[in-house]
Structure formats: C-alpha cells, structure tokens
C-alpha cells in the first residue's frame, strides 16, 4: 500500500495509469461496443470523410472504418509492444546478471557483444531482420525483442556488478552458497527495481519501434494492422489533408507511450531507481 501511495504521489504516473487503462479498454472492449467490419474490404465505401455514412472518423482507402480500425490496430500495437518489451527485459536481465556476476573474460565477451549490438542502430537491424522473416505479430515480437534487449542487459549488468559487492552477497558466498543460488536468490531480485522500471520504458520503446517498423514498410499481413501502419498509410495522403487518417493513430501512439513513460517514472519513485537510458 505504501508503495502504491508513493506511486500515486506522482500525479503524472497516476494519469499515465488511467490513460493506459482507457487505452486497453478502448482496444479490448471498444470493438464489442462499436463493432465494425475489419476483415472484408469495402471498396465501394472507401475514402469517406469523417461523419459520412455513420463513420465518425471516416474510412480509409479500403473502406475500413477508421475508428474501428484504431481499436483493432491498437490491439496489435499494445500486444506486440508489451510482449516485445517483456521479452527484451527477460533476455537482457539474464544476460546482464550473468555477465555482471561472473565477470572476467565471460563478462568481457558478453559485453562486447552487447556493445556491438548497440553500435548497430536498431532500425537498421530491424530493416534487415524483417526482410529475412515475414512479419507476423509473433515475429515482430521476437524481432523487436531481439534488437532491444541490449540496453536492459547493460543496466542490469551495472546493477549486478554493484549488487555482487554488497555484503549480503559476500555473506552468502562466505556461507558457502553456490553461484546459481546467488544469481537467482540475490542478484536478480535486487535488480528488480531497475528491471521493472526499465521494462516500462522498454514497452514504451517497443510500441514506438512497432510504429517505426511499419513506417519503414515492414508491416503486418492484411487485414491485420497496427497504429504505425495506419499512420504510415496516412502519410501518403498528407497533401490531401486527410487528417483523420493521420492524427488518430499518431495521437494514440503518443498517448500510450507517454502514459507508459509516466508510469515508469512513477515506478522509479517507488523502487528508488536512478536514471533512464532512452
């Protein structure tokens, strides 16, 4: 409870939580309240302006209702973002904890790999990776997870390095505790603050990456879509002032990513963790 109070003391974090909850409801419950055809195309009612024929936000080039599409797309963006963020966090945590705890040559090798990975801009990796595999939702999760575990790995390693010199770890070793026990029982739990806080940012970043991947043309197979894909489709209509194809998905991304960042900041207060690497 105390933890929640500390979290709630950060007003923005609370706002973030509410926004995220609303977004989740919007994408999960929304389609039940406002059912629309999002599988079959309807070329006869394509490119309608907002308000026409009962489409509050108009339709797109294939005749899909934009409001309904926003909900469906949001499911993908959120699902992929959250799972990819978690995947990245899990891989990064394990990698970083092991590198930091074991140290020496193992650490050096593992961290050089991380350095190399970081040196290659993620978007470049994504471009190449997504032309190797066909981006389904699961592939996207995997691919985004695989390019974004590096930062958490770094953070957790730094944390592990400092945790491992704490007296309670030394004590555990002096008691004869095995290495695996120390990593699992002491190192990992004590990096949890860093990890949880970073995971929130990681999810936020993953949602952005999903958008970038779609923007760069590596979208999902139709009729599936995500906010980034909607947005980049809208881009081609930027000169025709089709704001209803651009602003809704764009604002949805910004809102959710903001909300996650606010929540992360709030959690940071709770866990008392420092810093954020973007």
């Amino acid at each position: 409870m105390n933890a929640f109070r500390r979290f709630a003391a950060n007003r923005l974090a609370l706002v973030g939580l509410v926004v995220l909850a609303v977004a989740v409801l919007f994408v999960l419950i929304g389609p039940l309240l406002y059912p629309t055809e999002q599988v079959r195309t309807a070329l006869e009612s394509a490119n309608l302006a907002p308000g026409v024929e009962g489409h509050p936000l108009g339709t797109d080039a294939l005749g899909y209702d934009v409001l309904g599409r926003l909900m469906i797309a949001g499911r993908t963006s959120l699902l992929v973002g959250i799972l990819a963020g978690i995947l990245a966090t899990v891989i990064g945590t394990m990698w970083g904890a092991i590198a930091g705890y074991v140290g020496g040559v193992v650490d050096a090798v593992m961290m050089r790999i991380v350095d190399a990975g970081i040196a290659i801009p993620a978007i470049f990796l994504l471009l190449v990776l997504s032309s190797i595999v066909q981006p389904s939702e699961w592939v996207m999760i995997l691919v985004i997870g695989l390019v974004s575990w590096l930062v958490p790995a770094r953070l957790v390693r730094a944390e592990a390095l400092s945790v491992k010199t704490r007296d309670y770890v030394v004590a555990a070793r002096a008691m004869g505790g095995s290495h695996s026990r120390i990593v699992v029982r002491h190192i990992v739990p004590n990096t949890v603050g860093t990890v949880v806080v970073n995971a929130t940012f990681q999810v936020a970043d993953a949602i952005l990456l999903v958008a970038y991947v779609s923007f760069l043309g590596m979208g999902l197979q139709p009729p599936a879509t995500d906010w980034g894909a909607m947005l980049s489709n809208g881009l081609s209509l930027i000169y025709q002032n089709a704001w209803w194809l651009i602003l809704p998905p764009g604002l949805a991304i910004v809102l959710v990513v903001c909300a996650l960042n606010f929540i992360g900041d709030g959690l940071r207060d709770v866990f008392d963790v420092k810093g954020k690497t973007a």
Binding site: L12, A119, P121, F124, I132, S232, Y239, G250
Partner: protein, 344 residues
C-alpha cells in the same frame, strides 16, 4: 551510514601502494589502449553480425540487381563474379581483407564504389545530426539545470511532461505534424530538405534545413534535458555543492562553476551511446524530408538488396558509433581529472 572508517572505493587504488607496489605509470594511456582494443573487438563483432545477417537475406542480390528480364546465365555469371558461389567463410575473409584496405566494394545500384557513395552522403548526415545535436544540447543543458534547481515545482513538471511527450512522439509523426503545420498550414517552411550535393549547397538553403533539423532536435532535447536534469540533481546533492555554498559563492556561480562541469560528465558518456539512436533517427528523418544522406542511401540499398552498400553503411555507422563512444569516454576522462591521474 557514512560513519565508517572503512575504505571508500575511490581511494582503493590510491591505497594500493601500501603493500609495496607502484600504480601504473600512465593510467590514462593504459585506459586509452584498453578502450581502443575493446573498440576494435567490437567492430570485429559488428562485422560478423552484419555479415551473418546479410547471409540470411533470402534470394541474394543477383535477380534484384539484374532485373526481371535477366537470364539464368547472367545470374550465374553475376554470382560468380561477386564470389557468391564461394563458401561463406571464404566470402567473409575476402570481405574482411578488402575492408582493412578501406575497400567497401562496388554498389550494384549506383554503379560506384560504396566508399564514394558514403563519402558523398555521410557529411550531409553528419551535418543534419550534428546541427540537431548542437541545438539540442544548447537548449537541453540549461533547461535540465533549470529543472533540477526548480525540481518538483510547476515549471519543472511542465517541462518534464513536455519532454516525455516529445520523447513519446515517433519522429516521423512529429515530422508529419511539423509539415502539416509549417508547410501546409502556415506555408512558411518548405517540407523538402535541401537536395544540394555538397554540404555547402545544403547549408545555402537554411529554410529547407529547418524542419528536418527541428524534427531531429526535438526528441534529443527531450532526452538530453531529462538526462541533464537527473544528472544535475545528483550533482546538486553532492557535498561539494554544499561546500561551495558554505564559502559564500552565489548560487548562479555555483551552477556555472561547480555544477555544470560535474553534471556534464555523465551526459557526455550518454552521448556516446546515443549515436546509433541518432543515426537511426536520421534514417527516418531523411526518408520523411528526402534529405539525401546516409539514411536514404541505406534505405534504398535495403530496398534493392544492394549488399555492399548495406554492409558499408552499417559498418561506417557502427564504426562511427564505436569511435563516438570512445571519444565520449576520452572527453569524460578529460573532464574528470580522477581518471587521468598519472598523465602529467
């Protein structure tokens, strides 16, 4: 719990002399060599990763380069000429061999050496990111310090919120908004970046440069100001700030003489790691504003499986990144006299 007579980490090395050995003569030189060694290893790993990834690309470039109408014989010939029919490791060694002589191969699409293509584009990307970076720093550093000093007050919250919003906006969306606002709505700034071939020609059209640079700078301002704020907050709580104030130094001077330099150090380190992010951002911005830099080069190479260009771009950017973080480390060391102890 600071009431401890026990060792404070920073002094461990200093005390290492107790038992009779001297510290290294030139710790800075040692540090430098070590970092350079690491950087070389990292670049090597990068070449392996990139090469392996490209091997996994389906199809191979031949059909893409030669077009739909090419014959089977022409494709076989192409693959033979380019060495694609050799074992992978042999291709890698060949590639590495050429790399050390600075030869990045020939672009299939542009019909020119990759190094020339990059030499033509890189300066422009550097210009774009460099301008964004400088502007971002000029804004973010004072803003971050201001926020740290005014922490948890209205202005701080407002700026933090703005920063998070800016950070949360995908740069292509941001760019679109700017275009909608400045180009279409107000009609005061063109949506198309300068197409000039040289950096000078690009600079000659500052009004065209405005939107791309702005799009690049805004997220950086957001990011750096957040960093600067937290780093300045850390420094503000340091004892030496208190010492400085206790000798009667006016607060403004404390900020400029004591806080700035100390809180800049971690920001500089972070800059090194931001490079790949910035290059990634450049890719999107160049795409959006049609700025003919490395990002677009990479993009069109990716679209056309122009392997040598792909490899070349990734390598150059990775090397730039590695060099950047090396430089950041060195600057950091220079800023922080603790790390250059035995240099004199």
């Amino acid at each position: 719990m600071s009431r401890t007579p026990d060792a404070v980490p920073a002094t461990v090395a200093a005390r290492a002399t107790v038992a009779g050995t001297r510290p290294r003569r030139h710790p800075f030189l040692f540090f430098l060599l070590r970092r350079i060694g690491q950087s070389i290893i990292v670049i090597f790993v990068v070449t392996v990763i990139v090469f392996a990834l490209l091997q996994m690309l389906p199809g191979g470039p031949a059909r893409g380069v030669l077009g739909v109408q090419a014959t089977v014989e022409q494709i076989a010939q192409f693959n033979h000429e380019q060495g694609y029919d050799r074992p992978v490791w042999e291709q890698y060694l060949m590639f590495l061999g050429r790399l050390v002589t600075g030869d990045l191969g020939q672009s299939y699409l542009l019909n020119m050496p990759v190094s020339d293509a990059i030499a033509q584009r890189l300066p422009k990307t550097l210009l774009l990111t460099g301008l964004s970076l400088v502007i971002a720093l000029l804004i973010a550093i004072p803003v971050g310090i201001f926020q740290a000093v005014r922490r948890n007050r209205g202005a701080d919250y407002t700026l933090s919120t703005l920063a998070i919003i800016a950070y949360s906006t995908p740069s292509f969306f941001l760019g679109m908004l700017l275009i909608m606002l400045f180009s279409q709505g107000l009609g005061i700034l063109p949506a198309n970046a300068p197409q000039g071939e040289s950096v000078l020609a690009v600079l000659a059209e500052p009004q065209r440069l405005a939107l791309p640079v702005l799009t690049g700078a805004i997220p950086l301002v957001a990011n750096f100001s957040r960093y600067m704020r937290s780093s300045a907050l850390d420094s503000l709580s340091e004892d030496y700030i208190r010492t400085a104030r206790s000798k009667g130094t006016p607060f403004r001077r404390v900020l400029s003489r004591h806080l700035l330099r100390n809180s800049l150090t971690p920001v500089v380190a972070m800059l090194g790691y931001q490079l790949p992010v910035m290059f990634g951002g450049a890719l999107v911005i160049e795409q959006l504003f049609n700025y003919p830099g490395m990002g677009l080069l990479f993009w069109s190479a990716a679209q056309s499986s122009d392997f040598p260009v792909l490899l070349g771009c990734v390598l150059v950017i990775s090397i730039a990144t590695v060099a950047g973080s090396l430089l950041a480390d060195i600057i950091q060391a220079v800023l922080d006299p603790r790390t250059r102890g035995g240099l004199s």
